[in-house]
Symmetry: C2
């Protein structure tokens, strides 16, 4: 099949620093990236329930501090890259829709802000897309032309690269909604409006409700936890808790169905798994690989499943690669 | 967003006839297509349980007859287009994998056959992809650059066009596996190896098992049918049969989940529905539209849902458009 060259660069062959900011739900991660190295990093609390716009002065100060530490001026930099959850119009540099606490940023011009604050150009991208571009530029999927990413955090983010190009779609929503394919039409309502979405069944935020619906919950070690997430369920399963083991089995079925759906949708060579869930990769990845091998229809061979080595860096790398196109 | 021009022609602007053959599971449909008109049509029984290769002599004779009727020689034609179910390597002109009765055709060189039989070049494409290209060239989605198709026949076939190009993917399987996204991870084993596929829950072939599992089946009017398909269930629901109505509700939930999954995967402007199920479009389409409106996350607006006016012709049109690229 005809292969086109990837349209993304390697994050700074021109040697100039890219400023990268990743607006996560809990922390805002900042970095200076030069030739694929995150040469400086910082993190600020998001306070995302108070919105995004109000955090920009703090972000501006923190960027100023990182630049000063490296004796750089904004004019030494290639530009500013910003990642956020939600649907992003990369061309206009605005957020179209966000199913999170940053709703105040919909329609905000990050370009105008970057120009005003630093006199720099700005690229904006969905965080999962930036992560996948970063994994392809410097991470676990270097050089891949066809890859998908699933990142298991509070929600489940996804992205796809086909034939060397990030999949964006007509309205900027292609590739990023793999967490909102229904894997159980009899399942929970999702906060996106759909029913039975992967994320509403098996994302971190859905786990307390999932656990509490289990008939054995009250007698399980899980009932003694103040908060219930990926880690608590995996630990309970590992320590022989029957409810924990059953919940984990259900979750693995959903997660692997989500991976298979991404394979069936975008036909990748490689699947990159990322996010907080991958702290348990030693236990989980073999289980997921086995299920995916059984269930995916890939007569050409077997999809590689790899794990992000540095999820935070991958978003920053990806933003840098968008600022330094080949 | 940058829009590229569609890479497919209009099915014969040069005025030459395209020969098109659609290998369906029940019938092989043949046509001569000139400037978007199917000027001659014929149909042969598939006998698909006996394979595909054995039917080629009959196909060759029937093409010869159609050409003779129009006083055409093969050398007057632009080429031969062939559509089959399954995964097709359009570049090599071979079938890669087929989850149907035509398994004998995997790896067969349709190009060599067409050259030997007619001294014509040959294009091969998956039938749902050909149908979508045909709908875009002459059918219900004329001029769309971003569209998906779901065709509800024995199985559920799908295809996607993004930014004016048919979505094929690295291993020729992207776009066509929408019937094999899991919509119910607790559901039936599918003949593809996956569990809970849309097709295994709500495709025509899955309906007898679905109906018989309903606790009220024995007392339902449905138990008196020799065969059970889309039509019988829709008719039972329409005539007040409670089991029929409940089954239809389940099916509509699956079908609309399948449509939403295609929207979330490929971000189209338009969804084209096709296949035998659309004989009941007057009843079904309003139900599907309502569910899809509720459940799809499309902040940019509302996806149009249209129905193929001539599903058989759309495959033939699509093949002709592949033979006459702009």
């Amino acid at each position: 099949m005809e292969r086109s060259k990837p349209m993304y660069g390697n994050g700074g062959t021109d040697g100039r620093v890219a400023i990268a900011v990743d607006f996560g739900g809990t922390n805002i991660k900042l970095g200076l990236v030069r030739q694929g190295q995150v040469v400086s990093r910082a993190s600020l609390p998001s306070y995302s329930d108070q919105g995004l716009i109000g955090r920009l002065p703090a972000v501006e100060r923190e960027i100023g501090r990182l630049l000063a530490e490296r004796r750089l001026r904004p004019s030494d930099c290639a530009g500013l890259g910003i990642a956020t959850p939600g649907m992003v119009d990369a061309e206009k540099g605005t957020i179209l829709s966000i199913n999170e606490k940053y709703a105040d940023a919909v329609g905000f011009s990050f370009r105008d802000w970057a120009r005003g604050a630093f006199d720099l150009r700005c690229v904006l991208e969905n965080d999962a897309r930036a992560a996948l571009l970063g994994e392809i530029a410097y991470g676990a999927a270097v050089g891949e032309t066809d890859a998908v990413l699933l990142t298991f955090g509070t929600g489940i983010g996804t992205a796809a690269v086909m034939n060397g190009r990030i999949v964006r779609g007509r309205h900027a929503q292609a590739g990023i909604l793999g967490g909102h394919f229904a894997t159980d039409i009899r399942g929970n309502a999702c906060n996106c409006g759909n029913t039975g979405c992967l994320e509403a069944q098996a994302g971190h935020w859905a786990l307390p409700a999932l656990a509490k619906r289990h008939p054995g919950f009250a007698g399980s070690s899980l009932s003694r936890h103040g908060s219930l997430g990926y880690r608590e369920i995996i630990e309970a399963a590992g320590s022989g808790d029957r409810v924990g083991a059953e919940l984990l089995e259900t979750l693995v079925a959903h997660w692997s169905a989500g991976i298979v759906n991404m394979i069936h949708a975008y036909d990748p060579e490689t699947v990159v798994l990322s996010g907080g869930l991958m702290k348990s990769q030693a236990v989980l990845v073999p289980m997921l690989q086995e299920k995916v091998r059984q269930r995916s229809w890939t007569p050409w061979g077997e999809v590689k499943i790899v794990v992000s080595r540095d999820p935070d860096a991958s978003v920053l790398w990806g933003l840098a690669s968008l600022l330094n196109p080949k």
